[in-house]
């Protein structure tokens, strides 16, 4: 939904880290994308390709790792991903608590040419 804004922040961060590491160019950008971040793969790639020409990240490949929302069940002492109907634990049916709402988007690492 807001991939253009995120792409601009992505490029800024990538260039900063790449320059610091003495990169000639960025080959791959590994992203960790929360399932609930509302980031659509295709839209992100499209916006990234729109903004990246002329930067160190021109032509870089975007690799997206999706991570789900996570809850914790105290009864089962185990993590779970709730379904879309309720937040109940799939094992015991009690309502756990949210641990990660799955909305962040992280740059995990870069592969750069030096």
């Amino acid at each position: 939904m807001h991939e253009l804004a995120l792409s601009a922040y992505l490029l800024e961060s990538v260039e900063e880290h790449a320059r610091e590491a003495g990169a000639l160019s960025v080959v791959t950008i590994n992203l960790v994308v929360g399932e609930r971040s509302c980031v659509e793969d295709e839209a992100l790639r499209f916006c990234f390709e729109l903004l990246s020409p002329g930067t160190l990240a021109e032509g870089a490949q975007l690799v997206l790792w999706r991570v789900p929302m996570r809850f914790w069940c105290n009864t089962c002492a185990a993590a779970y991903t709730p379904d879309s109907e309720s937040f109940r634990c799939p094992r015991c049916g009690t309502v756990g608590g949210v641990v990660d709402d799955g909305t962040d988007v992280l740059i995990e690492s870069l592969e750069i040419e030096t």
């Binding site: 939904m1 807001h2 804004a5 995120l6 922040y9 992505l10 800024e12 961060s13 880290h17 790449a18 590491a21 990169a23 000639l24 080959v27 609930r36 971040s37 509302c38 929302m69 809850f71 879309s84 109907e85 309720s86 937040f87 309502v95 756990g96 608590g97 949210v98 709402d101 799955g102 909305t103 962040d104 988007v105 992280l106 740059i107 995990e108 690492s109 870069l110 592969e111 750069i112 040419e113 030096t114």
Partner: protein
Amino acid sequence: MTVQRVKVVRSLFHANDRAAEAIRARCDAAGVVAVNLLAGPGAGKTSLITRTIAALAGTARVGVVEGDIAGSVDTERVLAAGAVDAVQVNTGGGCHLEAGMLARALEELDLGAFDLLMVENVGNLICPTHWDLGEHARVCLVSAAEGDDKPVKYPDVFARSDAIVLNKIDLIDLVDFDRARFYEAVRALNPDAPVFEGSCRTGAGLGGWVDWLRARLASRVAGGEVG
């Protein structure tokens, strides 16, 4: 030429978070409590702001930033209700406010003239949640008419709010709103945030909300509260 791996681990929201911190510092310096109001379109954001201005009249001066895709009707409404000043931010189609947009809007306002800054975010329960605006309190507003499943469908906004307002309580019996289902999900996401049930139409039940704001304003004047 060699290919080398560089560990980064930085959120894409990092730059926004930094801009938000600068806004928080500005508000702290001016003694202003900033509230970021998040809700779907039509939930009653502007109505809650006008009710709040009226309830605080004579005790706290309220400034408003109105985020919207286009138009300025809400700015006119809050000024008519007695806001000290208000500024409109049109995102031109953007689905949320970012800290940079708010920082520019604040250039047009005199923070020294307010005690409370209310920011009406773009009507959307999803995107605004991810963008810190430098607020001291994030408030999620949902109306009974939208249904009891909102926390299950839009968990992030409930998980990340400091207070929750359930509006249009005057309609609750007309819309098959299941309180047990609503509160079960809200508590799983956010065990601590107060939930205020009220009606911006009749004014019923808004006392708890106003008291909560008053307490935040009072702790600010006493010089302690940050963040």
